[in-house]
Subunit: 133 residues, 2 copies
C-alpha cells in the first residue's frame, strides 16, 4: 500500500493516514471491497504505533469509508449517503472558502481551482468514475 506519512508535518499522523486513504479511494487506488492491510502490518510498514492505525481505521469507519470485521479486517465500503456526508463536507468547504476569501481569492478563481483539482484526482489513477462505467 502506498502511504506517505510526513513525520515533520503539524498534522497528526492518524489524520494524514485518514486523508491518504480517502484520496486513495477517490482516485480508485483502493476499490470497493478491497482489503486494507491489518493494523499490525500497516503500523510496521510505516513505522508508527498500532494505536495510530486503529484510530485512523475507526474514524474512517465512522465516516463511512470502510467496515471493520474481526475476521476480514478493514474493508473498503463507501457509504454514499450524500445527505449524511454533506454536513461534514459543507463545514470543511466553508473553512477552505473562508481562507480563500481572507486571501483575496475570487469566486471565479475558486471555481477554476475546483475544476482543476477534481480532474487531477479523477485522472490520478484512472479515477473512480471509470471504474463504475
Amino acid at each position: 500500500m502506498l502511504v506517505q506519512i510526513d513525520f515533520d508535518s503539524d498534522e497528526a499522523i492518524y489524520q494524514q493516514l485518514c486523508n491518504q486513504i480517502i484520496l486513495g479511494i477517490a482516485c480508485s487506488q483502493f476499490q470497493e471491497g478491497d482489503n486494507l492491510p491489518s493494523v499490525r502490518e500497516l503500523a510496521e510498514d510505516i513505522g508508527i504505533n498500532m494505536h495510530t492505525v486503529n484510530k485512523a481505521y475507526a474514524i474512517l469507519k465512522q465516516e463511512g469509508y470502510l467496515t471493520l470485521d474481526r475476521r476480514r479486517g478493514a474493508v473498503i465500503a463507501v457509504d454514499t449517503d450524500k445527505y449524511k456526508a454533506s454536513e461534514k463536507l459543507m463545514d470543511e468547504m466553508k473553512l477552505v472558502l473562508a481562507q480563500a476569501i481572507c486571501k483575496g481569492v475570487s469566486l471565479e478563481e475558486i471555481h477554476e481551482m475546483v475544476d482543476r483539482i477534481f480532474c487531477e484526482i479523477i485522472a490520478e489513477n484512472g479515477g473512480r468514475k471509470e471504474k463504475n462505467e
Copy 2:
C-alpha cells in the same frame, strides 16, 4: 469576541480557535488592524489553557492572518499573497474534493455548494468585500 469552542469535538481546541478567527476575518467580524484579545484574556474567557491560545495565534501568524507584537499583542494583518496561500488552499481543497468524489457528489453539485457557501460567508457580517468597496 464571539468564539464558540466545542469541547466535545474531535478537533483540537487550537485548531477550532484558528478556524473561528479565519471565519471571523472572512466575514469581516474582524477587520484589518483590529486587536484580538490578549492571550490571557481569551484563555480566561473561553476557559482554556494559555498555551492553546498561544499556539493558535502562532499558527495564524505563520499563515499570514495576524502580526504579534509585544506591546500591541495580536493584530489582524492579512498577507494576501495569493501564491503563498494557494499551496495550502489547494491541499485542503483536494481533501474536500476527494471526500466528495468518494461520496458520489458530482462536480456540478460541488460548484453549487461553493456558490452557496461563498455567499453565506460574505453575507454573514456584511462581508469583507463590502468593507473594501
